[in-house]
Symmetry: C2
């Protein structure tokens, strides 16, 4: 099953101050006109299927690449490659998050020259990834309907750090108790400026609006 996906094993950061290092990486991204989007969520909220839907919606608008981070396996990068999306798999060596230097190792391996939009699919985890600035230009989190409407209460830092909350799997809303108003209220309590979009990666609902959001932010950054 392991195909020709490039898998890189990143090493622990040598920098003591991750925030400074992240700022340095962001400056390099600015210079190279690369828009790096850090995508975080629980395991199974639909990060990979959202990116597959986005790849179709963004075709011809912006060149998208994906860095898939995981503890183990290359299943996500394989799916991307099969869909024709340039991707690499980053293995964190058991680490529960990526910091700026680990992200840089991935970017250098991926290749930044000529890249326009690179999405970093972070490790599936609502806790640790929110604590480490990866150097990304924007942060986005996906909350899927089956996970429940109490996540912004329980994982405040994730919502505080994100510019965009995408609520996924809207096609199964009828089968779950999920209070949209409650989620929006608590998410905005953590971060009044957070944007909120509803999608179903499966049916394609809302994907165009998400693509528009990304292209707009990428254009602002790359101008």
């Amino acid at each position: 099953m392991e195909k020709d996906v490039r898998v890189i094993e990143v090493k622990r950061s040598i920098f003591e101050n991750n925030d400074q290092d992240a700022a340095r990486l962001r400056a390099e991204l600015k210079e190279k006109k690369v828009f790096l989007l850090n995508l975080m969520s629980s395991p199974g909220s639909g990060k990979t299927s959202t990116l597959l839907a986005l790849a179709r919606a963004l075709a011809g608008r912006i060149k998208m690449g994906v860095m898939e981070a995981d503890i183990d396996s290359a299943v996500d990068a394989e799916k991307m490659m099969e869909a024709g999306v340039k991707s690499i798999q980053i293995h964190t060596g058991g680490m529960c998050h990526l910091d700026a230097d680990m992200t840089r190792q991935g970017l250098y391996e991926f290749g930044m020259d000529g890249a326009e939009l690179i999405v970093l699919e972070n490790v599936g985890n609502l806790v640790c990834p929110a604590e480490f600035d990866t150097g990304a230009v924007k942060n986005m989190t996906i909350l899927s309907v089956p996970e429940g409407d109490d996540k912004p209460q329980k994982y405040p830092l994730m919502y505080e750090k994100c510019d965009l909350l995408v609520i996924n799997k809207t096609d199964v809303l009828p089968y779950f108790d999920f209070d949209k108003e409650k989620v929006e209220r608590y998410a905005k309590l953590r971060n009044p400026d957070i944007d909120i979009l509803y999608i179903s990666a499966r049916t394609g609902e809302g994907i165009d609006a998400l693509a528009d959001w990304i292209v707009e932010k990428a254009n602002e950054w790359r101008a």
Copy 2:
């Protein structure tokens, strides 16, 4: 909304060797005939609703208490208390997991004398909690159908460490692509001895079998 739930803020461990400390805690549990079950999963897989269903199924069979661990909020302990289950809320101070000493702080606050079954609902996270022995007698993980069938591939350590895999939300199986055979195969690849049960905390399907599993293991431990 914050009711009379007891919330304790645990402190970082002072012990360098968590494995030794966990073994010490387990010996104390054995002496006091307390069965501690460590429950781990992604955020939103249904830990709390499973425990609420279990509380009903275990009534009259074994005395159950719950320690709810979370980064923030006391919503889970409040739900337990409303259902008449003895519970406390443990705040980890931002930490993504509990180690043995943090678990001990919770147990001492909860009170071990006369306790029979205490469930530790760990922080919602498939990565870090698996790395730290809490001192629990058995470890159990919940995978909910909407999370997808690739989790044992992506989070191997969790499945390696668990004695029981509970697959929850079987009532929505018709709405998701979820390959039971694949999950079972990969889970057993990580841990050939893992037990696997299917439940729906919402409909109650499979809860009695889960209650039986817990009572059997608790009786063995407390004999």
